[in-house]
């Protein structure tokens, strides 16, 4: 009668201090230039080495330029950081998937893509959206700089055991309602602090029906629910997704791994500390109106008046419909929604149409591989023909660490994860939505209901 979470947790305990505080083994560690290089320099300062460099891989994402054709940072400081990370990783024996190589991209896109993320592993990364990897049945969460250095030095992490929550997504979502809408609806229902102190398992038919990339979108926003950990039980889709990927086990090791993975799903009689359910059949496509991901309504909804400060920042009026709000920018990308099925969903709306003249729309693929695969399908041409920019892989305008910013007071419909004040640039106004909804906003020039678009 154990949960998926408890099974994995218990298999990783190195030391138990009681009171739910334990030292856990770290099976997989992902690094990228921005947080990684700090940890590497701190390790060097302490005169320590990496304990298990073979259990870490690295890539470049936060500070890389995503300008078409770019092959580096967008400023001298970024190039220096990239170079430090490259040099330190090489010295430590860490495999880095570098700019311009298959395997480079947003760390939470390439971890699964390379088969580095596996069911049943503990996986850490110095980034809060590490919860994404829970989509494959991994126990994964984001860590700060000190903990990152701790992982490099010891291949372990000290953790206080969270409680468990299960969220059942029942019913069949309507056309135009995607993984992003399911998880935004949950955040709207229980709030951004609703998951504090919990490891969340997502279950139910609507989750089982999602493709792996959709499951990654759901788990990605766990941190916006206040939970460090979000996870989904591995199943046939997970195994089919992983088989043959570069870091996935092969031969007898695959067979052993598969047998182990099949023991991981929560037992039928497993008890959770808290349960929620979401009825997916009644959901409309979601869009945020405020400065927290919990400020979310259906696209057919009315802007509420309970947070006047957020509305003032966003330049919106309570009581008006959210649909029809004029937009200046559209950003399709980020670790939330930049994978191939996301780009296909956006392209299906864009195909044969043009972006509104006043809208500057960007598509930033999540990885080098996603970009290649999308181009092989001709998706880039669909976007280019409609007047969108087709850019290089990276985190880009989700966080703006590389200088990709929304202008002050400009309004952006974004497929990313955070609509915080200033997140996409000082005074920038962000509306979170799905890739199809972002595409619809680019075409309409305003927030629009994707269900009204024929495809």
């Amino acid at each position: 009668m154990k949960t998926l979470f408890a099974k994995i947790w218990d298999q990783h305990v190195v030391e138990d201090w009681g009171d739910g505080v334990q030292l856990l083994h770290v099976d997989r560690h992902l690094m990228y230039e921005l947080s990684g290089h700090r940890g590497q320099l701190e390790l060097r300062k302490r005169g320590l080495g990496m304990r298990n460099p073979e259990l870490t891989i690295g890539t470049m994402d936060h500070v890389v330029s995503t300008a078409p054709g770019a092959r580096g940072g967008n400023a001298p400081w970024a190039d220096r950081m990239i170079d430090t990370f490259r040099v330190e990783s090489k010295a430590a024996g860490v495999k880095v998937y570098d700019i311009g190589q298959d395997g480079q991209g947003i760390v939470h896109v390439v971890g699964p893509e390379l088969g580095f993320t596996l069911p049943g592993v503990t996986l850490l990364c110095g980034d809060s959206h590490t919860c994404t990897h829970g989509a494959l049945g991994a126990l994964a969460w984001g860590i700060g700089s000190s903990e990152l250095t701790h992982v490099l030095a010891t291949q372990t992490i000290v953790q206080h055991k969270p409680k468990t929550m299960r969220v059942q997504f029942n019913g069949e979502p309507a056309r135009g309602v995607s993984a992003k809408d399911l998880i935004l609806a949950l955040i709207g229902k229980i709030g951004t602090a609703g998951g504090v102190g919990y490891a969340v398992e997502y279950a139910g038919d609507a989750i089982r029906d999602l493709d792996m990339e959709g499951r990654m979108t759901v788990c990605n926003l766990s941190i916006e629910l206040g939970a460090k950990v979000g996870m989904i039980a591995p199943d046939r889709k997970t195994y089919d997704y992983l088989k043959g990927r570069r870091h996935a086990p092969v031969g007898a090791r695959w067979d052993q791994a598969l047998a182990h993975w099949q023991t991981l799903p929560s037992d039928a009689d497993a008890r959770f500390d808290r349960e929620h359910t979401i009825d997916c059949a009644t959901l409309a496509p979601q869009v945020t109106w405020g400065t927290s991901p919990e400020d979310v309504i259906g696209v057919d909804g009315i802007i509420p008046g309970n947070k006047p400060e957020a509305l003032a920042y966003m330049g919106l009026m309570a009581g008006r419909p959210i649909a029809g709000t004029k937009v200046d920018r559209v950003f399709i990308g980020s670790c939330t929604n930049s994978r191939l099925p996301d780009l296909r969903a956006a392209a299906a709306i864009v195909r044969g149409r043009k972006a509104a003249k006043h809208v500057k729309a960007w598509v930033v693929p999540g990885s080098w591989r996603v970009k290649q695969d999308a181009e092989a399908e001709g998706l880039h041409q669909v976007f280019l023909d409609a007047g969108f920019e087709w850019r290089e892989a990276g985190c880009s305008m989700c966080v703006g660490a590389n200088g990709d910013l929304v202008e002050p007071l400009a309004r952006c419909v974004s497929t990313s994860n955070r609509n915080f004040a200033g997140r996409q640039g000082p005074q920038a106004r962000t509306h979170l939505a799905s890739p199809a909804m972002a595409a619809a906003a680019a075409i309409a020039g305003e927030i629009a209901d994707v269900r009204s678009f024929s495809i």
Binding site: V14, E15, D19, V21, L23, H25, D27, L34, S35, R46, L48, R51, E54, L55, V63, W77, A78, M81, L118, G120, G126, D127, S128, T130, W141, G142, I143, G144, S145, S146, E147, T149, H150, A153, T154, Q155, T156, V158, H160, T192, A193, V196, G226, K228, R253, W254, Q256, A257, H260, T291, S292, E294, V399, A401, R418, F420, A421, G422, R423, P426
Partner: protein, 200 residues
């Protein structure tokens, strides 16, 4: 790490809910700004006016809260990104203790790595403390970690291991390095149990 035993300091009210780490320290300050200088940029979007002058309305710019060592915060303080620079920036302003009904979980853990004490109390107690801190004649608060009290009477909870680490200023990396034999033993057993975890 700096030890934390008792702290007597001005407490500033910071009632805003969902204060995120992007708000505490902007991402462009996380790319190259030395750790020691981050305090100058804490809360910069609210603390400074667009021209760069101090915003006189921002709580920590008001004369009586300048140099505050404690923040009494709204719900879910430190939500968002994993950036530890948010804690470095707050500590860089001289703030050593945060009191809130809830915290962003990664931020919460990062506090303990840097000698900053985050205290979780119920919303009604935090509201009371917020009122006390807001009064014109507010006195400094005293936080006693050993006794787990604020101002001598208000008790708070803290995980025993975290308490010890703060009281003694312990370094978690040094503590875990001392457990190397256990880590090696775990991996040896695990290699037999789950060989696919370890590259051949």
């Amino acid at each position: 790490m700096n030890k934390f035993r008792t702290l007597t300091a001005v407490a500033a009210p910071f009632p805003q809910r969902n204060v995120d780490t992007d708000f505490i320290i902007r991402v462009e300050r996380c790319t190259g700004t030395p750790k020691e200088q981050l305090g100058s940029y804490a809360f910069e979007m609210a603390r400074f006016l667009p021209g760069g002058a101090e915003n006189p309305e921002f709580v920590l710019n008001q004369p009586r809260y300048r140099g505050a060592g404690i923040l009494v915060c709204g719900e879910f303080f430190g939500t968002g990104s994993a950036r530890e620079m948010a804690v470095w920036a707050i500590a860089g302003m001289g703030i050593r203790c945060l009191i809130a009904p809830s915290f962003g979980q990664i931020f919460f853990g990062n506090c303990f790595q840097n000698g900053v004490l985050p205290i979780v109390l119920t919303s009604s107690i935090v509201d009371d403390l917020m009122k006390q801190a807001s009064q014109q004649d507010a006195k400094p608060f005293t936080v006693d970690l050993e006794a787990q009290t604020i101002n001598g009477s208000m008790r708070f909870e803290i995980a025993p291991r975290r308490k010890r680490m703060l009281l003694e200023g312990l370094d978690e990396i040094d503590m875990t390095l001392a457990l190397e034999a256990k880590i090696a033993a775990f991996q040896a057993a695990d290699r037999a149990r789950r060989p696919w975890i370890y590259p051949a």
